[in-house]
Symmetry: D3
Subunit: 163 residues, 6 copies
């Protein structure tokens, strides 16, 4: 009997393992993860001004996100270390909602995907925005963190259609 309930990260006994990715095909793989952060209009305005003047919140968040991408396997216990070929963060300001949308794109040529890297990157970028804004607004909320798209690998292209 298989006790693992369909999870690949547990063996037959239910013990956590870093699954064997040996033998998987080396292909170009890319993932894009998204997330958003909502704040008060006053706080949003302060961030917005920083992007065009001094006090560049998004510039700091971008670096935090890229550095987090490289640390993913030391943060997620069962995640494989993957040689990252490219990593970047894009931000879109949504003034009407006093929110910022972030997207993290990660690319590798390897034997396993980079979804977790993209998700970790976008999350740490958003938390860095949070950190810099928390003196202005304690009610900040991060939401809609999900995988937008992945390409490459055996399962081919996936794109989240609902979002």
């Amino acid at each position: 009997m298989d006790n693992s309930n369909g999870f690949t990260h547990f063996d037959q006994e239910g013990a956590a393992i870093m699954v064997d990715v040996g033998g998987k095909e080396v292909t170009v793989r890319q993932a894009i993860a998204k997330g958003r952060i909502a704040m008060t209009p006053a706080c949003f305005e302060a961030v917005r001004q920083g992007t065009i003047g001094k006090g560049d919140v998004l510039g700091v968040a971008r670096i935090a996100g890229i550095m987090a991408v490289k640390k993913t396997s030391s943060l997620i216990p069962l995640c494989h270390a993957i040689p990252i070929e490219k990593a970047g963060l894009d931000f879109v300001l949504l003034p009407e909602e006093a929110a910022i949308e972030a997207a993290c794109t990660v690319k590798t040529t390897g034997i396993t995907g980079v979804e977790m890297e993209a998700l970790t990157g976008v999350t740490m970028a958003l938390l860095t925005i949070y950190d810099m804004c928390k003196a202005l607004d304690k009610g900040i909320c991060i939401s809609e963190v999900y995988l937008l798209e992945k390409t490459g690998g055996k399962s081919g292209t996936y794109r989240n259609k609902e979002k």
Copy 2:
């Protein structure tokens, strides 16, 4: 003229700094951050079975969250390293919504708060759940990551009232 737009993490010139927390009062400070992760009912059921049998997804996520709490200052660029006295994660299963709610509680006796530690802990716990579930469900979404409560320090007790 102050170019920092009210941000404490930038100096008068708009340059990012790790702000001086010297001279702040040493008090007991605690923060609780929450977040949630939603998945398909089938995926949720697999996680739920793991918590009562083999393949303990939440047990792994709990360890990931606690370890992430301790790494916060190496992930958030302008965050101070803080001696953590206590850290824990609680999960609530919400079967009707096929979602899991996580709360991370962190406590210190120090000169600055632990909001970012609690937020980092809850986020990495949720991403670890994501990692273990992603083979079953690619549409998983993390949301409602926010500070529920903080106590201690000059600004006293804060509690998010809307949530």
Copy 3:
């Protein structure tokens, strides 16, 4: 004259180096390291109950071991970073001796072996058991940490025959 006494980790002058592994053959390589931890019968019984109920000491130790496998090259000064394809920990309870035997299996497809990864994984798993048990028993002892088996690479299969 060679001053290195046969060590590959020192050059002719006796200076420590990370030896050149360039040009070595890329093969599937696996290593299994073992170790054991002995405690009082009362402490052992508490661990044993945790594995079948609440308070899962071995579950936490397993995660610690897997995460340590990935950190090996940052802990052992002259050790190369290796892309780990698989890592897992197995535990055997030995009630008559009030001891636990741990085995860490690590696999790569690369140019150098993963013995140090397996040894680091098994050791950190045992130290994590120690940490969780030390309030119950201060006389815990870790012993018999050794390489059980390695396969792949130029030197082929090795198996410790004495153990």
Copy 4:
């Protein structure tokens, strides 16, 4: 009912936690952990020559041990980060047994002990010796890793009497 079986690292529900050390007394605390590594006489002789000439295996192991002491809380999941005031490694060569005995001493002035730091330091020093010697001897064995002595804190002085 308490499900934690006496463990301090699990709460009433059996969930792993980093226990609250707030309110514990700040005292000078020291721990000494020991361990040993046994090898073939030829390998031992090579190490011994290095300590008096070129190729200083123990010098490298000492640095690895001290650096590992500082990383303990990032390796042991439920371990608190502690400000280390002093850390050192001592080695005793045992020619008749072709073995090396290592002792790691760690000191803090803080609210919790440094046993895990001393044990991590001695273990990583021994694994570093292993790494440098493994080309000469694949049958190396690490054993007798235990806490020799701890002083300070509520429980006072402990000394292992059997060893």
Copy 5:
């Protein structure tokens, strides 16, 4: 006989140690370290334009420097981990010399100084500038890295007078 040649980082036997800082006075301590990087006029001009427009080399370098300050004790083997209260980087552009001067200021309230933190911060900021400029100029040179000033602690204020 003392074999340590006056070094505090070696014991009487010449073994490296992390020296005991217990019992030292807790005072406010600050250190400022400086360094400079010289490049071709064309490369300098590209950096200069980035500081006033898009492509903010110094903004990225500042974050790298601040994050490195926090990692100092994991990089310098015998360095104590210190709770950093403040860290910042200042840059001065020297157009006539096509050079940039960096200063890193670090502050703590603790039992030992933060010279190494300031020096590590300034060095990593300069290396980050190097990294971003190396496609434009392979002859970049970092120089004049030294301690400008330290205050606090038993030895009181030091200021480098020659520079």
Copy 6:
């Protein structure tokens, strides 16, 4: 219009990115970086005696440099993680100038170069010498940190001719 001023580490919008190295040729690549540290004659003499007796400053610095090479991508924000095949440090004592010259050699077989790894290694080795010497001499200065030579990759061999 390209706002990136010729930098490869910024995109068209001026946002920092980890540039795409996918598709670059896998070749053997090596880099040698140099640097020097100057001190008082008395301090220099203490270091010199350590290299031939007890208190081996350069031995510790060598390990620090090698370990830093492996951490480069976690220190330099936009730097790719590269599988290091070889890393070593060489020191030359210059008694007449009371200075030490360090060279760090790093080699990989990969898709991007190892200049930053060599520069990080030489810098951290020099800072480690600084740390151990700072009790004897507060006026120590690090200078002349530059890339001596790189081979492999599309741009072929580079050698700094002025130095």
